[in-house]
Amino acid sequence: MATWLFLLLVALGSCAAGAVGALTGMGGGIIIVPMLVLLFHVEMHYAAGASLVAVIATSSGAAAAYLSEGYTNLRVGMFLQLPCIAGGVCGALLAAILPVPLLFTVFGFVLLFSGYLSFRRKEEAERERPSDRLAVRLRLESSYPTVSGWRAYKVYRVLPSFVLMGVAGLLSGLLGIGSGAVNVLSMDQIMRLPYKVSTTTSNFMVGITAAASAGVYLNNGFIDPGLTMPIMLGVFGGSVAGARILMFVNPRPLRILFSAVVLLMAVEMIYKGVTR
């Protein structure tokens, strides 16, 4: 196949992945790598490197919009950035030495878990007990805008979340996915931040973590400019469009369809990893 045609198809696929990532709240990274590997037969390191760049672009674009809205909790973000970026660097270094079939298998299980998370999400009543002592000491509590004005929220279980964030960063760097799903799990379910605060703060962190991993990938020669070009532009454009569509459609049926696709990709990644 000629390069131009191949890259055009990759751009269209990336655009779709970016839109679905925005619609389901999982981010484009987790779909783009299996798509490149399974559908386009791109080598794993190139796929992960290109995906990381796409993740930085979408995170930066979205953060620019979110920061002025006042949801993002920069203190929580920067505190959790510490384990996340350390994990991101380690993961990227590990990606260079671990065997590719092992990467496939790990990716399959991460996909399964992410699909399960995006399906299971439910709103829960906020608790009224006081915040963690550590959260108070670090002044992590804040407030966020609602229709009835600014509303204060509390922060729980800072340490477990801190540890989980290290794992999130590690997986992000290892597989080139950006780890948005685990970030949100950590903040939304464990720290009990309001959902919108979790997603915007996660988005703020994802770009910085991915940048650290991408730096290592760049130094190792895993980022191919020709291949990365349509992926970065496609995912970025697709996610902007996806965020627009989200205002008009109900994402629930999409989540179900998406979970099915993720399950399929997960099985194929694990199969590929085990049989090679």
Binding site: M1, A2, T3, W4, F6, L7, F40, H41, V42, E43, M44, H45, Y46, V53, I56, A57, S60, G61, A63, A64, Y66, L67, S68, L74, R75, M78, F79, Q81, L82, I85, G88, V89, A92, L93, A96, L138, R139, G207, I208, A211, A212, A214, G215, V216, Y217, L218, N219, N220, G221, F222, I223, D224, P225, G226, T228, M229, P230, M232, L233, F236
Partner: protein
């Protein structure tokens, strides 16, 4: 939150937006040049060979740009995108500095250190 900090938060958002748009435009320009010259050659992304050393270092990339290489120009766009993240952390650090928050200035400095290490030294 004080007015200065609110403005700084807006500035971070603005830097990110300009950075990502500038980067996308550069990547697009390089991409058009790349496809113009090499669009009809067969694809080669199935096998991993690693990028040539000139695409891994700042000086090498600059050399490619001077030669008018499309791949070099794309790489400049990508490096710009990564560099903007450095500015994002730096500005957030200044925000903590202005609110005289020692713990968070230290945390941000460590994050900045790790990011710099990853961008310039790790993995060579």
């Amino acid at each position: 939150m004080t007015l200065v900090m609110r403005r700084l938060e807006r500035l971070i958002g603005f830097v990110l937006l300009v950075g990502v748009l500038l980067s996308a435009a550069t990547v697009l320009l390089g991409g058009v040049l790349f496809l113009w010259r090499h669009g009809s050659t067969p694809v080669h992304y199935r096998i991993f060979r690693g990028e040539p050393s000139d695409l891994r270092t700042l000086l090498g990339v600059w050399g490619d740009v001077m030669k008018g290489s499309g791949r070099g120009i794309i790489q400049v766009g990508l490096i710009l995108l990564v560099a903007v993240q450095l500015v994002r952390v730096l500005l957030t650090g200044i925000l903590f500095l202005l609110s005289r928050d020692k713990t968070f200035v230290v945390i941000t400095t460590v994050v900045l250190g790790l990011l710099t290490y990853a961008l310039f030294y790790a993995g060579r």
